[in-house]
């Protein structure tokens, strides 16, 4: 194997696949990038949860393959000067040359690399990349890191005979639903994609500057095609929570407020809201006629602010974990509506001009 390619192209491509190279304490084949030189160059990484593959053109002087540590290869390429880079496999070494610089890395046997097979698709959906990224941003933060409840660690991709695909993230305390209109869609599906992998996929969208993202499903596998990068992900098995039944259909109090104003107020409230024992950061929302007051307190001190907004409906006093509000306020701007039902049922955050996004959050037992 021997090829020559511009440093920027090399750096760009190794950056794309680095996310599915495992970083392990013991030396492992899953830390490696498979470099294949045939009609073009293909980089493949696979940490057994996700496989990433990217393809690019180079001046190929000799065909072949090599298997080197991905992180090391990426670090080297980043630190090379601009211009041509030559990559040569000789026996058990890979030479990386640029100007008067030469690196030699040991290579493992490329045949040992566990390449995943790209399956045919049973169903698929294709999105405008920027809309897809925005939808992921709006639901991914509501997923859980708790591996003991696996379905909460993924985002549900669901279509049921309508023109939208629903993306849903939840962790048991809150629920985010984003309905997104695909450019193209075929077949019905209800699949849970690991949130960690989606996080890496949004990074690829940025690097590729791709216009579209195509998602194909086949049994327990999803394939994401983004420009010249392909990502294969193993889906989470299990039944997702019946999220539609959780959405309240009525409310008792409606608060209309600027997302920025509420965010500033809650950031202030969170300074003195932390309960050292339970680690919960509680805030109290209280309405009194047209007046909306936010309060918090802890051993550190007390906070109170009257907030300018419009209030409709009956007076309420309700407690929330401030984190769950701050998370959603980071992804929303402009005017938002807050619909409150009772001290025990979920409240809704929604923009008045966007029916396709809804965020549900459960109240907490109020501090006295």
């Amino acid at each position: 194997m021997r090829f020559v390619v511009d440093k920027d192209i090399l750096q760009d491509n190794i950056s794309k696949v680095i996310f599915s190279a495992a970083s392990t304490k013991v030396s492992s084949i899953l830390e490696c990038v498979l470099i294949e030189a045939e009609d073009s160059i293909i980089f493949t990484t696979n940490d057994m949860k996700m496989q990433m593959q990217t393809e690019f053109k180079a001046e190929i002087l000799q065909r072949g393959a090599a298997l080197v540590k991905a992180k090391l290869f990426s670090d080297i390429v980043k630190k090379l000067p601009d211009g041509d880079v030559e990559v040569i496999r000789e026996e058990n070494e890979v030479k990386i040359r640029s100007q008067k610089i030469e690196f030699r890395l040991p290579t493992l046997d490329p045949l040992d690399f566990p390449k995943m097979e790209k399956k045919p698709s049973e169903s698929f959906c294709e999105f405008v990349a920027s809309e897809f990224e925005d939808a992921i941003d709006k639901v991914i933060f509501a997923t859980s890191k708790d591996e003991t409840r696996p379905t909460f660690t993924g985002v549900l991709f669901e279509r049921e005979e309508d023109e939208f695909v629903n993306l849903v993230g939840m962790d048991g305390h809150r629920l985010a639903i984003c309905k997104i209109k695909p450019v193209e869609v075929d077949g019905n599906f209800s699949k849970i994609v690991p949130a960690d992998n989606l996080d890496d996929i949004t990074k690829i969208i940025d690097i590729e500057e791709a216009e579209k993202v195509r998602v194909s499903f086949y049994e327990n596998q999803a394939t994401f095609e983004i420009g010249s990068t392909t990502v294969i992900v193993t889906l989470i098995s299990g039944k997702f929570f019946d999220y539609k039944s959780a959405i309240p259909t009525e409310y008792s109090t409606k608060i209309s407020i600027s997302a920025d104003v509420l965010e500033s107020t809650l950031e202030r409230a969170s300074i003195v809201s932390k309960d050292e024992k339970t680690n919960i950061q509680a805030v109290i929302f209280e309405t009194n006629g047209m007046m909306f007051t936010v309060r918090s307190m802890s051993a550190d001190g007390r906070f109170e602010e009257d907030v300018l907004c419009s209030v409709e409906g009956k007076d309420i006093r309700i407690g929330f974990n401030v984190k769950y509000f701050l998370d959603v306020l980071k992804v929303l701007d402009g005017e938002i509506n807050l619909f409150i039902t009772s001290q025990t049922s979920p409240s809704i955050v929604q923009k008045p001009d966007d029916e396709n996004y809804i965020y549900l959050v459960l109240p907490i037992k109020m501090p006295e």
Copy 2:
């Protein structure tokens, strides 16, 4: 105590003293800022290693003092909207008010706060702030974090009957000396200032945008006056290493090279230089006539680069810890000279146009 002041002024001043507020697990008076309202407002913090004090004007409605957690107070001020802030002490609470926002913090007894006394000076020196900051940057990185050898954890300030003050940092493997010309100076001194405190002091210089820094010494105490901020530091006792005798007076090889070129080469070399067992990152410098080659190797792979520079003197082969070179190359730019004597005595890094800065680094036993 009751005063009103603009939010930016309040934020600026609490930012200056926050560095000497201790952050402890258990609640402690050393975490607090002492707020005194007399003819002006004075903020004081003291973690028993360093005391910081800053003074500013405010509309004082009632004199008095309060003692609140500094970090909490700083967090609150940062998150307030622009405009006037009112601070009121009432019994055991301090109210912080701005618009429709009110925080209440518990206050401790101001009389309990351990205020250090500002001593008269036995000797002093005053520097142009930017020159002082530059000199600190050039020596502080060479100090040690190892508390078992206390004198290595500080920077020596030394004057002996000449027009310069020498600032010296060393850790046993390397030594940085910066001779700096004071604007004003009186008396002889040889005092060791803790490097940690100097680091905070350079932050104050940036916040104050002060033109001058005045350093006064009295027994085991140094006072730094920077604009409206005063910092009192407890000096490190003990005898500093006789650094002047360590400077080699001759050399066998001289390498003249661009600091940027050598830095890029050594960053590349460091990718494959780490010995997993010893944790040392060794590089080899080799000259052969006019040729200068840098090599490194480890289980990860091998590196070699021929570097463009000018070489004089006899051929050498010598090993260094790459970290000790990268540190000094971060603070130098343009052309540098590297003077090498032998495989066992220190080498010198110096700029051809700056006699007042000299960096010494000991070689390491070479990897085979």
